[in-house]
C-alpha cells in the first residue's frame, strides 16, 4: 500500500501518518519526490483494508497494490481449481454445460426439457424454485415443491442439479435437494447469504452482480471461501451499460481477466447477458473461445408459455445446434465437455 501525501503536508502530519502505520503493525518507508512525498507501507496490506488511512490529515491518496482477496487469488493458488458437481467437473479443461428452464413450472415440462438438453450434451440441469422477480406481482416460483421436482427429474436423467437460493432461511432445504447452489446476480453482495452458503459443503455458482467489477466478484467469492467452502464457480452474466441493444453488457473479457487474478473456474451465461435468443449462440461461442470453463443457457420448449423470462430462452433444437458448435470450438482449445464420472 502506498500513501501519497498532500503537496503542503507538514512534517508533523508526515510523522503522525508514519506513527499510525507503525501502530497498526506495519513498517513505513518514506520517499520524498520533487512534487510529492509518499510513504510505502510494508507488510500484509489486506489487513489494512479497513483502516481509514485516507482520513488522516495530510493524506491525499491511498493506493492499494495487492488485490483485496487472498484465498481466491492466483498468487495463493497458482494452479486452476477444478470444481466437482456430483461427478461433473468444471475447470481444468472440462466444460460445465448447465441448461434448463428459468423457473421450474411442472414435472412434465421439466422432464421434457431435461430429456432434450441431456441429448444435446448438457451435463448439469438448472431450474429455479425460488425466483427473484423485480415485480411483486409476478410468479415467484414453486418453492419446495419445485425443488422436489428438480431432484426427481435430475435423478431420472443422471444430471446433477443447480438451483438458486435467495434467503438464508432457504439454504437448509436447498442444500437437501440440490447438488450446486446458485447465488444470483442481485445477491452477489448479500453478505449474509454468502456467509451461509460458505458453511455448506456444496459447490456454489456465484453470478456476477450487474454493477460489480471483476474484483468485487472475487471479493464475494472470498466471503464463501473464508467460511471453508472452496468449491466456487464464477459466472459472467452481463453488467449494466448505456446501450440497451442487449439486456446487459456481456463482458467476455472478464473471463481471461478472472483467470489472471484467480484460480477459480469461470463460466458464462449468455442468456442473461444478452436477453436475446438470437444473440445467445454467438455469445456462447465467444465465451468458450475466450477460455470459459462452461456455459449456462436457459432452454424452454414453449417460450411463449414460460412463467419467467420466456423471451430469452432457446428452443431445444437451437440448444442442440449451439452445443455442437461449442464442442467444436472447445476442441480447438483442447477442452472437452465433462461427462459424469461413474
Amino acid at each position: 500500500m502506498i500513501i501519497v501525501l498532500q503537496p503542503g503536508a507538514s512534517e508533523a502530519q508526515i510523522d503522525h501518518v508514519i506513527e499510525r502505520v507503525r501502530g497498526l503493525g506495519f513498517d513505513a518507508h518514506l520517499s520524498r519526490g520533487t512534487y510529492r512525498t509518499i510513504i510505502g507501507v510494508i507488510g500484509d496490506e489486506t489487513k489494512l483494508q479497513a483502516a481509514p488511512l485516507a482520513a488522516i490529515a495530510g493524506v491525499a491518496q491511498v493506493l492499494p497494490i495487492l488485490p483485496p482477496f487472498k484465498l481466491a487469488s492466483s498468487e495463493a493458488h497458482p494452479e486452476p481449481s477444478v470444481v466437482n458437481v456430483r461427478g461433473v467437473k468444471i475447470g481444468g479443461g472440462n466444460l460445465g454445460m448447465i441448461a434448463g428452464p428459468c423457473a421450474i413450472e411442472s414435472r412434465e415440462r421439466l422432464d421434457e426439457i431435461a430429456t432434450a438438453v441431456k441429448a444435446a450434451g448438457a451435463n448439469i440441469l438448472r431450474g429455479g424454485a425460488f425466483k427473484p422477480r423485480t415485480s411483486p406481482y409476478a410468479f415467484q416460483g414453486l418453492g419446495v415443491e419445485g425443488l422436489r421436482i428438480l431432484r426427481e427429474v435430475g435423478d431420472k436423467h443422471g444430471l446433477p442439479v443447480v438451483t438458486e437460493v435467495m434467503d438464508p432461511r432457504q439454504i437448509e432445504v436447498v442444500d437437501e435437494y440440490a447438488d450446486m447452489i446458485q447465488i444470483g446476480a442481485r445477491n452477489m453482495q448479500n453478505f449474509s447469504l454468502l456467509t451461509e452458503v460458505g458453511r455448506t459443503n456444496k459447490p456454489v455458482l456465484l453470478k456476477r452482480g450487474m454493477s460489480s467489477t471483476v474484483k468485487d466478484l472475487l471479493m464475494s467469492a472470498e466471503y464463501v471461501l473464508s467460511q471453508g467452502n472452496s468449491q466456487v464457480v464464477l459466472c459472467e452474466r452481463g453488467i449494466k451499460s448505456f446501450d440497451n441493444e442487449t439486456r446487459n453488457l456481456y463482458d467476455v473479457a472478464a473471463v481471461p481477466a478472472c483467470r489472471k487474478l484467480s484460480h477459480l473456474p469461470i463460466i458464462v451465461d449468455p442468456s442473461h447477458a444478452t436477453g436475446r435468443p438470437d444473440l445467445i449462440p454467438p455469445c456462447a461461442l465467444a465465451g468458450v473461445a475466450a477460455g470459459a470453463d462452461g456455459v449456462h443457457i436457459e432452454v424452454h420448449n414453449c417460450p411463449e408459455e414460460a412463467m419467467s423470462d420466456g423471451p430469452q430462452a432457446l428452443l431445444p433444437a437451437q440448444y442442440a445446434e449451439v452445443a455442437k458448435q461449442i464442442r467444436a470450438i472447445a476442441a480447438v482449445l483442447g477442452k472437452t465437455i465433462s461427462s459424469l464420472e461413474k
Copy 2:
C-alpha cells in the same frame, strides 16, 4: 402495451398474437402501418408484465406504456406522501436530516456524535449495527449490542433512530429497537428482505441500488407497499459510472424524476454518492435545491479512527456548517427542517 410485429409477420402469426392477448383477458387493437403492423393491448398492463408476449413467433418488440408499479405511482396517489418517523416528518415541505456515524462503535462515541449533530439541526440519528462489508475480514458491526446503544443514545437526545437490516432473520430485533429500518443499496433487490420489512409497520428508508434505474427503485418500493407498509422514503445515493473521480455518480436529477413518477418522499445521501468529504457539502445543497425531502450525511468526530468508511465522514463542525446552508436553501424553496412533534 403495444406489440410491434416483425416486417414479414404472417396473418396466422398476427391472429395467434391477438388470440393470446384475448386469452389473457385483454382487448387487442390492430393497426397496419406502411412498414409495420402493431397491436395495441387494451386493459391493465401491469397484469401482463409476466406474460412472455415477446416470445411469440412474429413479435418484434413489446413496448410498455404504463410504469410497472401501481401503489408507488403518482397516478394512483397524486398528493406527495409524508412519512412520520416517530414524530419527525419527511416530505410535504418537511426535511428529514439524518446524521450519525457509519457504524456504531461505542456508547461514548455515539453519544458525542449525537450531541453534535442534534445541536447542528439533525432530527434523526443513524448508526450501523449490522454492516455490509465488501471484505469478510473487515469489522462487521456490533450487532444487537449496537442496537441497544443506538436506542439508548437516541432516547437520551430525543432523536428517532434508523439502522440497516441485511438479513430477514434480523428484522425482528431491529424492529424492536429502531424507529426506521434501512434497506441498503446492495439489498435494494433482495426481495425476501423487502417483503419482510413490508410486513412490519415501521417506516423504511430504501436506498437506490448502484445499478438500479429510477423505475427499478420504485419497483422495489412497490414490494414493500404491496405488503401493506406504506411508509417508504426513497434515497438517492449514487450509481455506478465510468468516472472514478467520485466513489459513485450522484444522480441528482433522480430527485425530481422520482417526484414526477411517485408520491413517495425522496432524500439524498451525498456521503455514499461521492465518498469525498470535500464534495459532501456542495452535493447536499444541490440535492435540497433539486427538491429533496431530506439529507443523509455520515458524521464522525475522529474519522481516522472510524471502524468503517471514516474517509467519507464529515466532522461535527463541517456538518454544522452545511446544515446552516441547507436551512437557507430550503427557505428559498419554502421548506423547513422538521422538528420533533411533541
Copy 3:
C-alpha cells in the same frame, strides 16, 4: 412511430396532434386504451426524426418503431456486404486481418513489423501518421512523412494500408496514400469528417465511439453512406464502463447485434477494447467466434520503446500465435482469412 398521449390529454390536444402529423404528410391512427390514448403514425418515420412531436402539449412519449438509419439497415439490403480493400475482401466469410503499430515511427521499424505480421497471416497493414492524443504534450505522429513510409512499406510487402484521419483538411493527402481510411472512436460523431470521407471512394474503417450505442454507430455509418460511399467496415473497440479492469468494455455482443441490424461488415479491435496484451488473444478469438469479419490488432517489436500505446501492443511472436488460433476458430465457422486477389 407511436405517439402516447398524457392521461388527461384533452380532445383539443388530441386533435392538434393529429393535425400536426397530417400536416407533415403522414397518416394518423387513433387508438383509445383503458389508461392511455395512442396515435399510430403511418408513413416513412425516418422523415419524422427531426420533428419535435414530443414537444406538443398533451404528448407523453414518442416511441419510434423503425431504426433511424436506412442505407445501413439490413431491411434495405438483406445480403451481407463485402468490402474490398485493394483486393482484400472483408465480409461474407472473408476475414480482414489488420495489424501494425499504433504509430508509424520510422521506415525501418515499420518494415520489421510488416515483415512479421505478413508472415503471420495479416492481410492489411495499419499505422498512425496523425495521432489523436489525449495529452497535447505527447507525440502527435509523423504526419505526411508517416503516410509516405506507410505506402512504401505496404507496397514492398504487398499489403494494402489503412491509417486514421482526424481533420477534414487531412483527407485529401490521406486519400492519396492510403487504401482504407480510418475514423477513430473519438471522431465517430465528427459529422464534418464523416461527410467528407463519404465523398471519397475509399473504404472506410469506422470505429465505434466509447459512449456510442450500436444504433449510434450505424447512424454514423449512415452519414458516410448518404454521401455515396458504400464501402464501410464497422469496428467494435470497447465502450466506457465502471470496471477499470480493462481499458474499455469489450462489447462482443455488438458483433451479432450489428449483423442483425445491418449488412455492413464488422470487425473487432481487442487491442483498444482491453488495453492489455494478456487479454488480446482470448478476446480476438471471442470476436471471431461471435462472427466478426476480421480482427484489428496492434503489433510492435519493442513495446517499451513505442512512441504511442506500447503497453497494449502484442509482440510479433504473440501475434503469430493468435493468428494461428484465429484461423482454426474461423474454420469451425466456415470462414477463411482473405488473401490478396491477384
Copy 4:
C-alpha cells in the same frame, strides 16, 4: 509516478527499469516491500505520460500521482479564474446566464427569444448555426447566414453571443461573428479543433464529452490553454449512463470536483443533461447550489415548431421563473448574475 514490479521480477529486470527511468532524465527510488518491490520516479511526471513504462518486462503497474494537466490545474494557479465574455464575467462569484434556442431558425424568432431571455436576466445569447446532428437527414443549421443573424440580434439586445464550431475550417468565420466559441460534447476530444480554437483569442465554452471523465475534460482544456488561449469555461452537460430516465446523467458533483482540480470556471447545462423540460429547473438550481459559475439553458418560444431539440427547450415564461430562483439560490452563496460592464 510509482512503478510497481511483478511479484517475481528479477534483479536484472529491476535494474533495467531503473536504467530506463534514469535514461529519461528522472531519478529512481527503490523500495522493497514484503510482497512487492516498487520504484518511485522522482521529477516532473507529466513529461513521462507518453513513455511506455508499463511495457517494460517485469512491470506490473504504473501509478501516476500528479494530474496529467498542468496549465489547467489549481496547483499551477490557485486562484479561481474569471473569464470575460465581451464584458460579461463568468467565475469568481459572477454567474454567466447563457440562454437561447438550440438552432438559429430565423431573425424574427431569435429576436423574440432574445427579448424574452434578456428580460428574464440572461446575459449571453446562444444559438447554433452549424449543428452536429446524429442523422444526416436532419436540419444542419443555417451556417454563415445564421451567424449574421446571431450577431445582429445580440447587438440589438446588448448580449454577447456564443455559438458552436464543429470543423476547423469554420473557425475563421465563427471567430468573426461570435464573442465566445463553443466546443460541443461530441468534439471534446477533436484535438485538431481544440488546437485551432486555442489559437484564437476568444473565450471558449468547452462542453464535457458524454464518455469523458472530469480529468479528460481538464485534459482537453489543457489543449486549448497550451496554445496560449487561457479563456476557457468548462461545462457539465451530462454523461452516459444505464438509466434512460433522463437523456444523459447529470453529474452535478463534477462542479465541485473540477473546482478542486482546476482554476477554470465551470457552468452547467441542465437542458442537454436531462433532455426533459420538467427536470431543467430543479437541475439548474442544483447546479448553482453545487457552486456552478453559470447556467446554460435552451429556450424556445414554440418548441413544437423548433427545428432542433424542441422537446428539451423551456418556454420563455418557464425560463423567467427559474432565473428568479437561480438568483435567490445564488444570493445564499454570495454570488450574483453578472451584468454587462459598461
